[in-house]
């Protein structure tokens, strides 16, 4: 598999009739739009030569790329796809032969391997941030060297504390990056377009908040729906019509399910145990969620879907995006993350939390003990699962199963 092959494949399946026929095979409307928009986004990154391609790490403000009409391509999200497509063992092996230590995060190793194997489209710009993660800023710089575009590599240095000065420092960086890319692409800065993008991002945000509010009461979901699959629209597509459409449909679909659920509520029966999911999940086929379902547990919320930022001001795009980045609960003290987790725990009335401790993710795993102790004070048990989101060979499935069963027994023994 290389980019030529992928380009050809996407060229075929991204044609409207085929794409929408493919979309209609999904039993959930949300999943249908997720898949259609993902394929269209990828097709643009691989085939649309009229716009530059920009690699971005997960927490960069993609609104800025949309405003600059740069087609975004998120290598970390694509690393999740390598797991789903079953090629992660190849990409990870390739990264090892390029001297990436096996102790490093597999999202970044797999992405690096995919890049070496020519699976990714060639970028014109690369944006990374230190927000939450050390690995992205380093691996993305290496990508820029590989493609010989170090001068088009931008690290967005997000300060640790949220203060007047840090907001100013970050706002200045975003503005400089925007101006530099504008000048390199020979475009005049288009602030009216930027305002539109910011308004769309706000619209997406409003729908995402509505979805999250609705989920506080929801326990009946469309078949195969898993909100941990929505990383791309939640992080990469804000500022586009696609993100708005998707979350609008998601809201309507989940509302229908809530109505069905409320219709059944005459007999409350055996209510499911409510789980909060922390960090990410395995993106290869895993039985974790089957086990939860079998044991009458439901993931009521995932921290990655938490809307952590305030509404953006279209008249102050750079400052608004800086505020968005500085508001992220994975930045700064662990207390920021703990506060969000405890708020979710109360609002979603959770019975237990599962923290998927992805191999090599120091920022998340390093805080596991504090998170566990904080939830314990509310009487909520936490299961920390050591595993790997990308490399199935780096997860002990038997051990995970045993630990989950033990945890679920504890949960079920609580009345």
């Amino acid at each position: 598999m290389n980019q030529k092959y992928i380009k050809r494949l996407l060229g075929i399946i991204a044609k409207k009739p085929i794409l929408y026929t493919y979309g209609s095979t999904f039993s959930s409307v949300s999943d249908k739009y997720l898949n259609i928009f993902t394929i269209e986004s990828l097709r643009n990154a691989y085939s649309d030569n009229s716009h530059p391609v920009g690699f971005g790490s997960l927490f960069v403000p993609y609104e800025m790329l949309h405003a600059l009409e740069i087609t975004p391509f998120p290598p970390e999200v694509m690393a999740g796809f390598t797991a789903g497509l079953g090629i992660a063992s190849q990409t990870i092996k390739q990264s090892a032969s390029n001297w990436y230590s096996q102790d490093l995060c597999t999202f970044h190793r797999s992405a690096s391997g995919a890049l070496e194997l020519d699976v990714f489209p060639k970028p014109d710009f690369i944006l990374a941030t230190n927000l939450a993660c050390d690995a992205a800023q380093k691996s993305f710089y290496i990508y820029s060297k590989k493609y010989g575009i170090e001068k088009n590599f931008y690290l967005i240095d997000v300060p640790y504390h949220y203060s007047k000065e840090s907001l100013q420092y970050l706002t200045g960086q975003l503005k400089n990056i925007y101006m530099d890319i504008s000048s390199k692409t020979g475009r005049e800065p288009d602030y009216s377009k930027f305002r539109e993008i910011i308004s769309l991002s706000n619209e997406f945000r409003n729908w995402a908040v509505k979805v999250n509010d609705l989920r506080k009461d929801l326990t009946e979901y469309p078949p195969y729906f898993n909100a941990l699959n929505y990383i791309l629209p939640f992080h990469v597509l804000p500022g586009t019509e696609k993100a708005v459409t998707l979350y609008k449909h998601m809201y309507r679909e989940l509302k229908k399910y809530l109505a069905i659920q409320q219709g059944k509520n005459g007999s409350k029966g055996n209510l499911p145990k409510r789980i909060l999911w922390l960090h990410l999940k395995p993106y290869y086929k895993s039985e974790i969620f089957d086990i939860l379902k079998k044991e009458n547990c439901i993931v009521v919320f995932e921290e990655i879907n938490y809307v952590y930022w305030p509404e953006l001001d279209p008249l102050k795009p750079f400052e608004s995006l800086a505020k968005k980045m500085l508001s992220h609960f994975l930045g700064g003290k662990i207390d920021n993350r703990v506060k969000v987790i405890l708020d979710i725990a109360r609002e979603y009335k959770i019975d237990g939390a599962v923290l998927f401790s992805h191999w090599g993710c120091r920022q998340s795993n390093g805080g596991a003990r504090i998170i566990k102790d904080s939830l314990k004070k509310l009487g909520i048990p936490t299961l920390v699962i050591d595993g790997d989101c990308v490399d199935r060979n780096n997860s002990s499935h038997g051990q995970i199963k045993t630990r989950m069963q033990g945890f679920l027994e504890i949960l079920n023994s609580k009345t």
């Binding site: 990436y100 380093k138 640790y160 420092y169 003290k333 662990i334 390093g366 596991a368």
Partner: protein
């Protein structure tokens, strides 16, 4: 007296004197006994502000064994951080405060852990930008002002500019002496053991500055006098020993340095945060800028850690060092799970290949490695050179 040097000293006796750190640094070794200390971890921490507040800066080196930390951090977590946490949980009665930096994800979580489970010791996190330039300097200056306030609150006194200026002079003097020592070490590799060099480097970060400076001056004078008077020690003694550059992070493994000392190699240069990245570059106080800005400039523009944004700059710096010191081989040695350093290796390796410089890649736990296996690998590497 060990410090007396005589023409008549046999080479072995002279060597043994030069490497007797205990004798030369007697006062340094006992300098911390009753002083109020502020612990620090990363070379981006300005010791000058700690000294100006009336404290002695102490770099936390970590305990030899990791026991208690295992229940606080995952298995695949930086061993320096874990060993530091172990040492903080042990007796640290002289520690009045801790200053952390946002050097990396691991260090941020260590700060959180200290803040949560070790509330009796006040702690502060100094936000260090990853970019260089005027905006970053101005922003870092603000953060240094926050750190200064934290020290003032801990001390219960106001820090005056004069006190910072005095501390700058003191630490600049230490830096100059360490640089001189590193040049002398390169000049006389057969007489100064690698283990001695790194032991003294460690002392420079874990002792009272003035006491250390006094003893280091005497020590360097002794070596210079010996070189002047005694024909058994001379610059030409490098002979055919291959010049190695050691690149890595927080490597304080005594057994490793002892092992390297016993092998046919010389450390002609290094890029480590317990050595060159600590002392290279002085604070330039020219009087036209305020002292915090001078400090901000020095720390942001010092020999960079791989945490900084511009890895290209780091590559260039290493490349220049290789050429200037006629390096014949690289030993890249990293603590396990150190993302910032491990991610730099693919780039470094590619560059070394282009330059035709062989490199030995080592990853190790903290104070825990297989001596025999490592020795075999290093020997095989040296034979290749």
């Amino acid at each position: 007296m060990m410090q007396d040097n005589k023409n008549s000293d046999s080479p072995d006796l002279l060597k043994s004197k030069i490497n007797d750190v205990q004798s030369f640094f007697k006062n340094t070794l006992s300098s911390l006994d009753k002083r109020p200390l502020i612990g620090w971890f990363c070379t981006y921490t300005p010791e000058e502000l700690i000294i100006a507040g009336g404290f002695t800066p102490l770099r936390i080196m970590g305990s030899k064994k990791i026991v208690k930390s295992e229940s606080y951090f995952p298995i695949n977590f930086c061993p320096y951080i874990k060993s530091s946490w172990d040492s903080l949980l042990s007796d640290m009665s002289n520690l009045k405060a801790l200053v952390f930096t946002n050097s990396c994800d691991g260090m941020r979580r260590l700060y959180d852990t200290a803040n949560t489970y070790l509330k009796k010791i006040p702690s502060h996190l100094l936000d260090v930008p990853r970019l260089r330039g005027e905006d970053s300097t101005a922003f870092f200056r603000v953060n240094l002002a926050h750190m200064k306030r934290f020290i003032e609150n801990t001390a219960g006194v106001k820090i005056r500019e004069k006190e910072i200026a005095e501390a700058v002079l003191l630490i600049n003097k230490k830096r100059r002496l360490l640089e001189k020592f590193s040049l002398i070490f390169k000049k006389f590799p057969r007489h100064i053991y690698i283990s001695t060099y790194y032991r003294i480097m460690e002392l420079s970060m874990t002792s009272e500055a003035q006491v250390f400076i006094d003893e280091l001056e005497k020590y360097l004078k002794f070596i210079e006098d010996s070189a002047g008077q005694n024909k058994t020690i001379s610059e030409t003694d490098r002979g055919s020993i291959p010049g190695i550059m050691v690149i890595g992070n927080f490597i304080t493994e005594e057994k490793l340095w002892d092992m390297l000392s016993s092998m046919k190699l010389r450390v002609a240069s290094d890029d480590l945060c317990i050595s060159s990245r600590y002392f290279i570059k002085l604070v330039d106080k020219d009087g036209s800028t305020d002292i915090l800005t001078s400090l901000a400039r020095r720390y942001l523009n010092k020999s960079p850690c791989m945490r900084m944004a511009d890895l290209g700059l780091k590559l260039k710096e290493i490349e220049n060092t290789i050429i200037e010191n006629s390096i014949e081989g690289i030993i890249f040695i990293s603590l396990k799970f150190c993302d910032t350093v491990l991610y730099s290796f693919p780039l470094l390796k590619e560059r070394f290949n282009q330059m035709g410089i062989p490199v030995l890649y080592l990853e190790m736990e903290y104070n825990n490695f297989s001596e025999g296996q490592l020795k075999t690998r290093i020997q095989a590497f040296l034979e290749m050179l």
